[in-house]
Amino acid sequence: MNERTNQLGNIYVSPRAIATIASQSTIESYGVVGLAAKNLAEGLAQVLVKDPTLGIEVRFEGDSLQIDLYIIVEYGVRIKSVANSVQDNVRYAIEKAIGLTVNRVDVHVRGLRISNTD
C-alpha cells in the first residue's frame, strides 16, 4: 500500500524513499556501527554509506510493508537490546514520516566490530 489517495490526488512513496528513512534511523541507533550489503559477495561493512539502500530491503507484499535490515553491531553490547531498539526506531521513523504502517522489521546482524578488547 505504497499508494495513498486523498482529495487532491494520489501519493506514491517509493521503496527507495522508505529505505532512506530506514537507513538514517538505523545508523543513528545506538550499538549499530554499520550496514552490511545483503549479498555477502559485496559484503564489507561500509560505515560511510553512499547508497541509501545499502543493507536495507523494503518489500511490499500486498498491503503489508516489510523491512529487512542487515547491520553490523559493536562488539560487547547486548545484541538483543540493540536489535529491539533498531526495530522500534525504524518503525517509528517511517510511520511518523510517511504514515504507512510497517508490518514487519527483520534485523539481521551480519557481523560484530571489535574496537576494544576487555
Binding site: G31, G76, R78, S81, D88, N89, Y92, T101
Partner: protein
C-alpha cells in the same frame, strides 16, 4: 525483575580525606545510584520523547543497573577493577532499551580503565570516566547529541577540569553532578525534538539521577523519597475535569512563571503545601507551571507567593465548586459500557460524538475514546483506555484514518496484546463491531472484524470551509460537500441535494440499508425533511436514523 528486593535504607558515609575507593565502596555507590534512579523512575519515563516516545527510558535504565547490582549484590570483592568488571558484565547482560545499552557501555569503559587496580583515587576516576565516554561513543556511527552521550561527555570533561583544583573525590563527584545537571538542561538546545516537546533528554536525566544518588549517599541524604515529581510542562493542564472535589479544594490555580533564581523544589513544595493540595509542577526551558487546589480564602496566596520567586507570565483561576455543580446539571446520561472479564476480548472505539459513543457502547464496546476529524485523540488517551481494561486482549477501532497511527503507537507501548482493526470511518467501525465475539478466538475475531470493514460504504456530508477543486469537483466556500469513502464526490448548495447525490454515487440502489447519523450542527427539523426525501427516493430501502452528535459532519451515512 519484580522479584528483586530493593535494599533497605542505606546509611550514607563521606569518603574520608585521601581515602581510596575500593570494590565495596563502588558497590555501595552503585546501590545508591540505583535506589535514587528507582525513586525518580517515573520522572525519567515522563521525559521520554526520543528516539521513540514510549515512556520507558527510566524503567529500562533501572532494569539495566539492577542487573548490574544483582551481579555484585553478594560479592565481597575488595578489588575495584574486578568489582567494576562484574558490574559491567551484569549491565551488559541485562541492558534494556537504547539508554540501557549506552549505560552498559559506560560501565564497560569505566571497568576497562580500572582493570588492574585494587583501589581508585581521583586521577584514576577521571581516566575511568574518560574511558567510559570513549567506549560509549564507539558504539554508534552517528552519535546524536543532546542525549545521554552528551551528558557522559560533559561529565568526563568536568571531572578532568576538577582535578586541577582538588583531588578530593567528594568534591569531584559534586562537580560532576552539577555538570550533569547543566548538561541535561542544555539538551533541548542540541536536540530540537526535545525543545518542541518542552522536555530535557530522558536518558541524560536518568544518568544524572544515578550520579546524584551516589552524591546523596556520600552526604547521607535520603534516597527513597523523591524531592518532587516534575513533569513535562504540557502534562500540567488548566481546567482539568475532575470527578470529585474534597473540602478545601474550592479553586484551581495554575500559574506559569519564570523564577529569577533556580527553584529549590523542597522549599517550594513545602511552602505550597501550606496553601493547598493537588500540587503539581511542570518544567520546560526555564519556565515552570504550578498547579494547586486551594480553599476560597487562599485563592490569591499562590499568586502572591510565586510573584516573590520570579516573573509570572500567566495565571488561571477556576472555581471548582461552580464547575462541579455545572457538570452535575448538564451531564448527559452516562455511557453503559460493557464490562469485560480477564481473558475476554475487549474493544476500544474512537468516537467523534456522544450519540455514536452510545451506539458503540450498546454494541459491546468496553471503552470509548473521544476523537475524530480535526480532533485526534493522543496516543496516551488511547493507551490509557487500553491499560484500564481488565483483559489483555484488546481490539482498537480508530474510526478515522488519521487516528490509525496513534492507535498503533499506543498498541506498541503496552505489554497487552492489542490489535488495531483499521476502521477509517464510523460506519466501518460499527460494521466491525457487529462481528465482535468477546469469548471467541482472538485472531479469528480480528480477522472477522477486519473483513467486516469492507461490508459497508461510508458517506459523509459537511460544509466546505474554503473554495477548492478536489477530485474533479468544484467546491465553493459554504457549499455542502459529500464524501464517499473519504473522497469528495459531489457538492451542492443544500444538504438534501448533497445527500441524494452522495447516495447515487455510492450505488445505493445495489444495497439494502441506509443508516444516517446526524451531527450536532443540524436541527431535528432539517434532519426530518432530508430523511423524508431519501425515503421517497429509495422506497424499498430500510432507512434508520440515529443521533450521532458528531461535530463538523451534518451526516455520517452507512450504506450496506
Amino acid at each position: 525483575m519484580s522479584d528483586f528486593d530493593f535494599p533497605a535504607t542505606m546509611d550514607g558515609r563521606q569518603l574520608a580525606n585521601e581515602e581510596l575507593l575500593d570494590g565495596q565502596g563502588l558497590k555501595a555507590l552503585i546501590e545508591a545510584g540505583m535506589t535514587w534512579l528507582k525513586t525518580n523512575q517515573q520522572t525519567v519515563n515522563a521525559l521520554n520523547v526520543f528516539p521513540v516516545p514510549d515512556g520507558d527510558t527510566g524503567t529500562n535504565m533501572l532494569l539495566t543497573i539492577q542487573a548490574a547490582y544483582i551481579e555484585i549484590a553478594k560479592s565481597g570483592e575488595k578489588n575495584i577493577g574486578k568489582m567494576a568488571h562484574a558490574i559491567a558484565q551484569g549491565a551488559l547482560m541485562g541492558a534494556r532499551g537504547n539508554s540501557g545499552v549506552i549505560l552498559s557501555q559506560l560501565f564497560r569503559g569505566f571497568a576497562r580503565s580500572l582493570d588492574s587496580f585494587d583501589t581508585m583515587d581521583a586521577a584514576r576516576l577521571i581516566k575511568a570516566l574518560a574511558e567510559a565516554r570513549n567506549t560509549a561513543y564507539k558504539g554508534v556511527v552517528r552519535p546524536v547529541e543532546g542525549t545521554i552521550l552528551t551528558v557522559a561527555k560533559d561529565i568526563a570533561l568536568a571531572a578532568e577540569t576538577s582535578l586541577a583544583i582538588t583531588d578530593d573525590m567528594n568534591i569531584i563527584l559534586e562537580r560532576i553532578v552539577a555538570a550533569a545537571d547543566e548538561s541535561v538542561k542544555h539538551t533541548p538546545e542540541l536536540l530540537p525534538i526535545l525543545k518542541q516537546a518542552g522536555v530535557v533528554d530522558s536518558g541524560g536525566k536518568g544518568l544524572f539521577y544515578i550520579l546524584e544518588g551516589m552524591l546523596r549517599y556520600l552526604k547521607g541524604l535520603p534516597l527513597e523519597t523523591a524531592l518532587t515529581t516534575v513533569q513535562p510542562l504540557s502534562a500540567v493542564s488548566v481546567g482539568e475535569t475532575i470527578e470529585s472535589i474534597e473540602p478545601g479544594q474550592d479553586y484551581e490555580v495554575v500559574i506559569d512563571f519564570r523564577p529569577t533564581q533556580p527553584l529549590n523544589f523542597e522549599i517550594f513544595y513545602s511552602d505550597l503545601s501550606e496553601m493547598g493540595t493537588s500540587i503539581q509542577v511542570g518544567e520546560g526551558e526555564g519556565m515552570y507551571r504550578m498547579h494547586i487546589h486551594v480553599p476560597t480564602e487562599k485563592r490569591y496566596q499562590p499568586i502572591d507567593y510565586t510573584m516573590g520567586l520570579g516573573t509570572i507570565t500567566k495565571v488561571s483561576i477556576e472555581n471548582l465548586v461552580a464547575q462541579m455543580e455545572n457538570q452535575g446539571s448538564t451531564q448527559p446520561p452516562k455511557l453503559q459500557l460493557t464490562a469485560v472479564e480477564p481473558g475476554q476480548i475487549a474493544v476500544v472505539a474512537i468516537s467523534p460524538g456522544i450519540g455514536i459513543s452510545r451506539i458503540f457502547a450498546s454494541l459491546g464496546a468496553a471503552a470509548i475514546v473521544e476523537g475524530g476529524q480535526t480532533m485526534n485523540p493522543s496516543t496516551e488517551e488511547i493507551l490509557h483506555a487500553v491499560e484500564n481494561l481488565l483483559t489483555d486482549k484488546v481490539i482498537v477501532l480508530p474510526d478515522n484514518k488519521n487516528i490509525i497511527l496513534a492507535a498503533q503507537t499506543a498498541a506498541s507501548m503496552t505489554v497487552k496484546k492489542v490489535i488495531i482493526v483499521p476502521s477509517k470511518s464510523v460506519p466501518q467501525g460499527l460494521s466491525a463491531m457487529l462481528r465482535l465475539d468477546p469469548n471467541g478466538d482472538f485472531d479469528g475475531v480480528v480477522k472477522e472484524m477486519t473483513q467486516a470493514l469492507g461490508d459497508v460504504e461510508t458517506g459523509e456530508v459537511t460544509i466546505a470551509t474554503r473554495s477548492v477543486e478536489i477530485n474533479g469537483v468544484n467546491v465553493k466556500e459554504g457549499e455542502v460537500i459529500a464524501l464517499h469513502n473519504g473522497l469528495v464526490v459531489n457538492s451542492a448548495s443544500n444538504l438534501e441535494d448533497a445527500c441524494l447525490g452522495l447516495l447515487e454515487k455510492a450505488h445505493t440502489e445495489d444495497h439494502e440499508r441506509i443508516t444516517l447519523f446526524y451531527g450536532d450542527n443540524i436541527s431535528k427539523n432539517e434532519v426530518n425533511t432530508i430523511v423524508d426525501r431519501i425515503r421517497a427516493a429509495y422506497p424499498h430501502h430500510e432507512i434508520e436514523l440515529h443521533e450521532g452528535d458528531q461535530p463538523h459532519y451534518q451526516f455520517i451515512i452507512a450504506i450496506e
